[in-house]
């Protein structure tokens, strides 16, 4: 829509600028906080302009470590988070691709029952069944490792539904043409279905990566070993300093660092992401 009225243009720009400011201001404060030293941060008023300690803080976060005993390296926590987010996103996509494929393209007995069973899991996210799930994971000996961190979060009805929807838009003739060309079911899946759903997979990957990266409650429960801490829970732990005041400059630095991977994923996959959400051509 193209509006020619200047008042409307002026108004919409104001709204947009305000919106950007609301989103950007906390990030600016975080950046400013990360560039001051431990003494300046607890003082009122809060600094609004960057200080000169940014690289010193960066070094502290990565080399010297953060946390009460200064033994947690931000690098290790970010690595843990990265592995967790990748495993969750990859695992969810792999599982839901296959289950959507089965539901859409095969006529097996009790197909609808399976379909509804998957559907019901929508109502039971991890947070609801957290105790029994913990019990199962503990009994399987998966505490304090990547499997325990990710497997319970992988089974996903939402992604299955999304791929089901995507597959339903793929014309039947494509499958028929592939059958005549001599492709079996798995061939069709690999050679036709996956490439055709490429943009949707990318869009979902972005969403799920951020979902995985931001996990807090489950990692908090499942990890007691400091070497398995993720960055999101690490930040929370830093706030709970026992005697001393929280080290705001390091917390802000860690927060800033924690934002980088999701941002990189979004920027890197932006083109595919938008295509995946808007493209209809199959």
């Amino acid at each position: 829509m193209i509006e020619k009225r200047p008042l409307a243009t002026w108004f919409s720009h104001t709204v947009l600028i305000l919106g950007v400011a609301v989103v950007a201001f906390p990030i600016w404060i975080t950046f400013v906080g990360a560039s001051h030293d431990a003494i300046r941060m607890p003082q009122v008023p809060l600094p609004l302009l960057p200080g000169d300690q940014f690289f010193i803080n960066l070094k502290a976060a990565f080399v010297e470590g953060v946390g009460n005993a200064k033994e947690q390296s931000v690098g290790i926590m970010m690595f843990n988070s990265l592995i967790m987010a990748l495993m969750i996103a990859g695992g969810k996509i792999a599982i839901s691709l296959l289950s959507a494929f089965a539901i859409v393209y095969f006529r097996f007995p009790f197909r609808m029952i399976f379909f509804w069973m998957i559907f019901i899991t929508l109502m039971l996210p991890v947070e609801v069944r957290i105790l029994p799930t913990f019990e199962v994971v503990a009994n399987l000996g998966m505490l304090n490792n990547y499997w325990g961190l990710t497997v319970p979060l992988i089974a996903s009805a939402t992604a299955t539904f999304m791929f089901r929807q995507v597959f339903l838009t793929v014309p039947d003739e494509l499958l028929e043409a592939a059958r005549i060309d001599g492709a079996g079911p798995m061939r069709f899946f690999k050679d036709i279905l996956l490439p055709v759903s490429r943009t949707n997979i990318a869009a979902l990957f972005v969403i799920l990566f951020i979902y995985g990266w931001n996990q807090y409650l489950w990692p908090l429960l499942i990890t007691t070993d400091k070497s398995m801490y993720t960055i999101v829970m690490g930040i929370k732990q830093m706030l709970e300093a026992a005697e001393e005041a929280p080290e705001w400059h390091l917390i802000m630095m860690t927060t800033l660092l924690a934002m980088i991977p999701p941002v990189l994923v979004v920027i890197g996959m932006q083109k595919l992401f938008i295509k995946g959400l808007t493209e209809t051509e199959k």
């Binding site: 014309p171 043409a177 059958r179 005549i180 060309d181 001599g182 490439p195 051509e281 199959k282």
Partner: protein
């Protein structure tokens, strides 16, 4: 290349039967067109030959081998779909090569075959493009190419030209004909367009509501339609139908209460007396009677000039059906004139009104 034998094929979806025992013998190298109105079961029949749809009863054999339970890929057929069904993420080359690749042809062999087909279809410059970068006609040719490279025994076409504009359709029709002359592969072509059917087919199978109404060469179907349905379906503008009651002596036909026309060749010879029949006369087979008194009195409604011919629309007395007449050359005829029409006996088709079959 192969003979395709279709014997007593039926198809049911649950309780409803949509094809009721189709029989056809398609000989080697023949181009056969399956034609009929929308929903009559043409695609279903074609898809059963392809193996995409189960056969409820009857047998289909290709080249002497019953294929009822064979997978599509084992039937040695290739199919062109209405929307072409090209793989959107593959280049034209890969689209054409995919079937060969799965059949474990060598890279060199695939290249030779694809380039041959591309040359035949004038696709050589487009081999590296994706389907979405092609025009409708070009996509259509790629779909053809995908079939040709495999050198199958039978080509199947499901309304391949219906997504093209009128001009391109005519051009592709000619190209298809040429291609068939060259390759001589048994082809089964589904369409609901009677012009396409008449111009392409060696023989036509006219299907109505799941029954094969008539099978034969286009001219035979045109000149001797076996039923009212076939008569009305083939030919444009469509045949005129006039219902009438034949007198006891078979010499006159009562068209309406006050219109009685003499029948030139007494129908009693064929044993047609006291019967309700439908006369079928094509618009181009009418001519103006030179005698004032004999013929069908047509009250003109309006006339259209088509350059080489004049179309006259009018009604017979006591009947509301519009009758179409096509006269050669230009005639200036004003509305409400009454024309006396005649037609040669061999151009008058007579159908039993009850069964709809030709008498």
């Amino acid at each position: 290349m192969a003979r395709v034998l279709i014997e007593n094929i039926t198809k049911s979806y649950g309780e409803t039967e949509v094809l009721h025992g189709i029989n056809t013998d398609i000989s080697d190298g023949e181009f056969i067109v399956i034609v009929g109105p929308s929903g009559c079961g043409k695609s279903t029949l074609l898809r059963m030959i392809a193996g995409l749809e189960d056969i409820s009863s009857g047998t289909i054999s290709i080249d002497g081998r019953v294929v009822n339970t064979l997978e599509p890929k084992d039937r040695d057929i290739a199919m062109v779909f209405q929307n072409y069904a090209l793989y959107p993420h593959m280049t034209v080359f890969k689209n054409m090569a995919y079937g060969l690749k799965l059949r474990k042809f060598s890279k060199k062999n695939i290249k030779i075959r694809v380039h041959q087909a591309a040359k035949l279809l004038q696709l050589e410059e487009l081999l590296e493009r994706k389907p979405r970068q092609l025009s409708g006609g070009q996509r259509q040719r790629v779909a053809m190419g995908r079939c040709i490279v495999r050198e199958p025994k039978v080509f199947l076409f499901d309304e391949p030209l219906s997504n093209l504009d009128a001009k391109l359709r005519v051009q592709m029709r000619l190209e298809l004909r040429k291609l068939h002359k060259r390759l001589k592969v048994t082809s089964i072509y589904v369409t609901h367009d009677q012009v396409e059917a008449m111009t392409l087919g060696d023989r036509l199978v006219v299907i109505n509501d799941g029954y094969a109404e008539q099978i034969g060469p286009p001219l035979e179907l045109y000149e001797k339609p076996a039923s009212i349905f076939v008569a009305g379906f083939l030919g444009s503008p469509a045949m005129n139908f006039i219902s009438a009651q034949i007198s006891a002596d078979g010499k006159t036909a009562q068209l309406s209460e006050d219109v009685k026309v003499p029948v030139a060749n007494p129908l009693s010879k064929q044993g047609i007396t006291e019967k309700k029949v439908t006369f079928g006369i094509r618009p181009e087979h009418f001519s103006l009677s030179d005698k004032e008194k004999t013929g069908l009195p047509l009250r003109v409604d309006h006339a259209e000039f088509h350059g080489a011919s004049t179309m006259i629309y009018g009604r017979l007395p006591g009947n509301d059906e519009l009758i179409t007449v096509r006269l050669p050359h230009i005639h200036h005829i004003s509305p409400e004139t009454v024309l006396m029409l005649t037609a040669l006996p061999e151009h008058i088709h007579i159908f039993d009104q009850k069964t709809g079959k030709r008498i």
